[in-house]
Amino acid sequence: MKSKILQFVLFLSIPSCLSSQNLLDKLANEDLETKNYVMSTFKGTRLSIGHSIETRKKNTLEISFMSRYWNVPQETSNSFIADRMCTRVGLDYGISDRLTFGIGSGNPNGIIDSYLKYRLFQQSTTKKGSPVGITLLQTSTYRTRSIKGIERRNTFGEKLAFTTQLLIARKITRDFSLQISPTFVHRTSSNFSVDDHNHFAVGFGSRYKVSNHVSIVSEYYYVANPLKSIETFGAFSLGANWEVSDLLLQFKMTNNQIFTEDAFITQTAQNFNFRDGNFFFGFHATYHIQL
């Protein structure tokens, strides 16, 4: 009988401790529908000189101005700031959240380029999904004038080049992202028989976020079968990306002056150092418009 009473008393005492349970804790057990992919592995469609895995969202347009400045060696020049400059003006449009199309034109090198970029996989925040983000890039370029005399220039078809890149990137920590990009470059013609039409290369890129708006980026491209008619070096870039609302500003130090993949990956004729003729300062400005 005694035990029954005890039992009853205990029974009554339970509700008082249960009612103190927080309502928020109850909500914590409810599942919220989450999009579990990683955002912002990089800022912008270009990491520094080359493409990043990022595409633009549907119905967004980006206008980009790219430029490189450099000095010519052994020249007593009175140029203002730099002896030479090279620019590219481009448009990038998000056809869908996964597919981005871009066109651009360079001056004074006269290269017209276009690309299509498709996001195959996005890196997942959970362990179940993809550990990396993968984007496929296809570019094509047309050279209106000769730059290094690598290609034959008799017909339209001889002045083309195509670059295919598989961009593989992982946001390793919230600040640090790494990208590896196996690359295939095809040039439709070669002026010298020693040069292969096809080149295989690997790009390495990384970014480190120093603040919420500024990151340090670097890129290097290794070419497995470089040109034989001229001496070439791997394209290198070290720079900073700065985001100011709708504007993305990219500053870089690099060893090449051309903006298209086929040119800077396979035809960079100088190694990276700070001497005149080797050192190129680059500035890109990209303005983002939501259509």
Binding site: N22, L23, S40, K57, T60
Partner: protein, 187 residues
């Protein structure tokens, strides 16, 4: 004696799963698609975003309200704003949710029409918890509760850092509004 202990133990185990749940859910109302919007008005630009996935529970017995808001579920007109919001300002990878837990002061369930009350509670954003008073209207439609209201949030209070260059673009005071339609919790 052992038998008694066993009985007590059984009472303990069974109690939460049977008795109180039935009782609790009668007075618990839930909203899974609550609407939360925020606005930042400046002469330079207006920023507006809406979240239609806020989760909230309202206990009519204790007059307590709790809310969970997933930061990534805010939808912006500009996709770039969504990216900047998550990546640079709210840092939703570190702080995925905002929460509120509070109590409606002087709530009178017998009033069938609209009543305006203060909800006193704690709002947590980016791991910063501040006590807030929210002015809200509560009405009963078809036996379900509708709670609407709003509050102003100072970004400085919640560790949201805006670079000096961009401070004209983002208001110091963010207006938040919400509209929750609760229905009886069924489980």
């Amino acid at each position: 004696m052992n038998k008694t202990l066993l009985l007590i133990l059984i009472a303990f185990i069974n109690y939460p799963s049977h008795f109180p749940n039935k009782k609790d859910y009668k007075e618990e109302y839930i909203e899974r698609q609550g609407e939360v919007s925020f606005f930042s008005y400046t002469p330079v630009e207006n920023i507006q975003a809406t979240n239609n996935q806020a989760l909230s529970i309202f206990d009519t017995k204790t007059n307590e309200v709790a809310v969970r808001i997933l930061m990534r579920a805010f939808v912006f007109k500009k996709s770039l704003m969504h990216e900047h919001f998550n990546e640079s300002y709210i840092e939703s990878d570190l702080y995925p949710e905002a929460t509120f837990s509070g109590k409606i002061i002087d709530f009178d369930p017998s009033i069938e029409t609209m009543q305006t009350r203060i909800i006193k509670g704690d709002f947590t954003l980016k791991d910063v918890t501040k006590s807030v008073d929210i002015k809200a209207t509560i009405s009963i439609v078809d036996g379900n509760y509708i709670i609407k209201g709003g509050l102003d949030i100072l970004i400085d209070d919640y560790n949201i850092k805006v670079p000096a260059l961009l401070s004209p673009n983002i208001s110091k005071k963010i207006e938040v509004t919400f509209n929750f339609k609760y229905s009886q919790h069924e489980k």
